[in-house]
Amino acid sequence: MNEPFAPRRRPWLTHGLVALATFGVTTLVIRHGVERQTAILDSMEMQPTSAAATLAYAWGSVDDAKLLLARLIALAERESAVPSGRSGTAPDFVTLRRMDADMAKLRLALLEGSPHAKLASICAHATIRCTPYTLDGLIAMLTKQRHVP
């Protein structure tokens, strides 16, 4: 009656299999979660700098605005350690980050008093809807956003 109930040969085989299966499933779930969340976390990490840069551009000194815009561009353009595993329905946070970087580049160029050719070059490489026809409107909008000389 008190005979062992588990198989006598390799009694730890099923335990090993259970441990291995749990390890595999957990690893897959963690990796999938990290792939999905990295782009969102990158965007969230940018938000304080983005808010500070926006206020500094509108009201701040040129030095502060330039410094914060440069930091924003660096944050927005950094390569993620994990490639983003975007699903079709989720918003594309990588593209949104690039758009933020393009707007910051245009603001920085305006602060630096760059020539129109440089603005057109940024516009040509931008992910935002910027064409030679809309560039002047965009420049006017960004100029209006700065309330101080």
Binding site: P4, F5, F23, W59, S61, H147
Partner: protein, 107 residues
Amino acid sequence: MRHKMAHSRAPESSHVKPTFDQIFRLTGTHLAAGALGFAAAVVLFAPQPRVAHDDPVAKEVLELQTQARAAASATTAAPLARAVAICQKRRWPACDPESVRKMGSPP
């Protein structure tokens, strides 16, 4: 033939009716094995927490924004005074109370 049938039968242990204690132990050890696999995966692959980079300029500007917003909506003078003080410390061009209130107003 009889020899073959004897070989093809299930092992003897499968005919033994397990006691509650045996089932309890076996289930427990399998759950422990599962927990061990889970813990190993978490230790090896869990993402590391992100470390916030200290940015004093952004910190001050964000505090200015918070105080300016409070000044735009509150009747007390303290947030406005604090916002003006930060603005002057950062040497921004427009640090009069009216401009600081405008900073905190929605665009």
